[in-house]
């Protein structure tokens, strides 16, 4: 990390007043706790020079990207730009051939498995809504709840009052309060998307990766989702991959354009839309 980056991060962190201050405790405590995300340097996610290739095809090619605590970052890019592969790398599903991926300043994500990364505080929503279809909405959320996730604690698990409060709160947030005992498989597509977002929130993640969260939603549902994301911003860091430009316009601060596995442009939506190279990859060729 360069000094400028650190300086910029500190500014963002103090502006959002979110995770940076809470976990770091300012300059007073310098002790690094293992397993705790250290965001004192103003970055919650840091990818540097990451490359991965499948059978010679470079899906990610020297990608460098970083996200500040509390930031809502939108990622756009043409098909095959490497958006989903990037999320696979961050969540431990795919191992890169080279590069570094850090969560905070101290946690090397490349050393962890998918469940460990989830427990560390990175939640992920898939492109295709993935919920447990045979279980009820309530049971889906209960499984996602942040708690001990070993076999023995699951066998003897009982919800306490505080956890029930949290469940009720999330059920209201995702507008499924009346459907708690419905089978998740019977929900509409948009409702499944919401349920999956609710499951992420139950995990209480520090960073949310959302792959096309409003795909297949009605306009009203999309508007509600935008509203929800704006309330999450600041408390959580979000990385949103979307194709819906009006949705991005509603929620975005900074937009990153990916193309051919690396960053093509970055800035506000207007800036990147005015960028010659971006216009070329979207319209040209």
């Amino acid at each position: 990390m360069t000094p400028e980056l650190m300086e910029q991060g500190r500014r963002i962190a103090s502006r959002t007043g979110g995770l940076g201050g809470a976990t770091g405790g300012g300059a007073s405590s310098q002790v690094v706790e293992p397993g705790k995300v250290d965001t004192r340097h103003g970055r919650i996610l840091y990818l540097e020079d990451v490359s991965v290739s499948f059978d010679g095809f470079k899906a990610i090619n020297g990608l460098s990207l970083d996200i500040a605590p509390g930031e809502l970052r939108c990622i756009i890019g043409p098909n095959g730009a490497g958006k989903t592969t990037m999320m696979d790398i961050i969540t431990g599903k795919t191992r890169p051939n080279s590069g570094t991926v850090f969560f905070g300043s101290t946690i090397d994500l490349l050393r962890h498995t998918e469940p460990e990364i989830a427990q560390l505080g990175i939640g992920r929503k898939f492109q295709k809504p993935t919920v447990f279809e045979q279980l009820s909405v309530f049971e889906n959320l209960e499984l996602a709840l942040k708690t001990h996730k070993g076999v023995k604690s699951s066998m003897f698990f009982k919800l306490d009052s505080e956890q029930k409060d949290r469940l009720v709160e999330i059920l209201h947030t995702i507008h499924l309060a009346g459907s708690a005992s419905r089978r998740a498989g019977d929900l509409s597509h948009g409702q499944k998307q919401w349920l999956e977002i609710g499951m992420l929130l139950m995990q209480d993640p520090k960073l949310l990766l959302l792959d096309e969260p409003v795909a297949g939603m009605t306009d009203e549902e999309t508007a509600r989702t935008a509203e929800l994301f704006l309330t999450l911003k600041g408390k959580h860091s979000l990385m949103v991959v979307e194709h819906d430009m009006s949705f991005i316009r509603t929620i975005s601060d900074i937009v990153t354009v990916l193309c051919d596995g690396s960053v093509l442009a970055q800035g506000t939506l207007d800036q990147v839309q005015a960028d010659e190279r971006v216009i070329e990859v979207y319209l040209g060729r």
């Binding site: 939640g123 049971e139 209960e142 309060a177 509409s188």
Partner: protein, 399 residues
Amino acid sequence: MSNHSILPQRAPLLSTPAWSAFFAALLVVCALVPVLHLVMPPDSPLHMSEYMVALVGKIMCYAIVALAMDLIWGYTGILSLGHGLYFALGGYVMGMYLMRQIGRDGNYKSDLPDFMVFLDWKELPWHWSLSSSFTATLFLVVLVPGIVAFVFGYFAFRSRIKGVYFSIITQAMTFAAMLLFFRNETGFGGNNGFTDFKRILDMPLATRNMRMTLFVITGCTLLLFFLLSRWMVASKFGRVLQAIRDAETRVMFSGYKPLPYKLSIWVISAVMCGIAGALYVPQVGIINPSEMSTAASIEMAVWAAVGGRATLVGPIIGAFVVNGAKSWLTVTAPEYWLYFLGALFIVVTLFLPDGIVGLWKRLRGRGGRGPKAAAQQSAALEEGQAPTGAVAPATGGAQ
């Protein structure tokens, strides 16, 4: 926020009618059958014959296996085609003890089991050293299948072997074990296995009282395992298993490591089979490597499928229906049994994905609230949703 009323109530372990049925079954096993067999005079029409007691006792052992299959296949979506191995391991451990109980009453009047004398062995091989103790046998009945399942499961699940590949490997495992047990050098009686048992705990086996005792123990074990399984699938542990079956990646990204979950239920399932095998051998009076044949293991999967996967009670019903039909058909028309089994499997796969229990539920649902249910279904279709009743709860294990 403290309004918890929108959260559904946790269902009890068993509903009131289910508890009634459970205690009725317990009464039948522990009181009714002993009275019908031991007290009723043989010429009475209510008398339960020795043949029937032996048959039902045997089928109850199979029902325990079917229950074990349901936990691993119905609930976790892992189709094992090798559970015959664990059944046979439990059976062999018990068989070794029963062979030692013969003492010097064998054909060769030797301390060694007959087949060892026949092979001209002078002393017991090392793996027979604990076989004279009943207590050790009880432990080994649990430990041997448990450890074999743990080692196999650990490497298979760690390598993320899934679906049909996993099924094939389990099948290969049991076949390899069968070939091993067929050999005389391994010290398990070769292709004849163990038979001619005389007594257990120094008491003669071939008495009506002993047969009844084993029957009651088997019945109680089955009921106990049913309750245990019910408790497991009703806990969050059971819901994680179903979640692994339906969307394993989502389970991982929710922070659960699938390996310990799969391994736990795999080992529990194998141990249940081992105990079933140990109860089976003294009642049937023989154990040989044919229990490890591939067909035997496939039949176990058929019991669970016929009864209805992911229902617990279904596989028990399935074990009774299929084996009842088997013992009836192999007497009246032995040449048709295999055709019947094949046809049954095809019919269940094509038309009854939820087995007998699913059929019953569907019939009851149609009878009870016919037009209303139909209206709901068409309304759901208009909304572009799949009708709920027709969707199988356990989408094929071997995907």
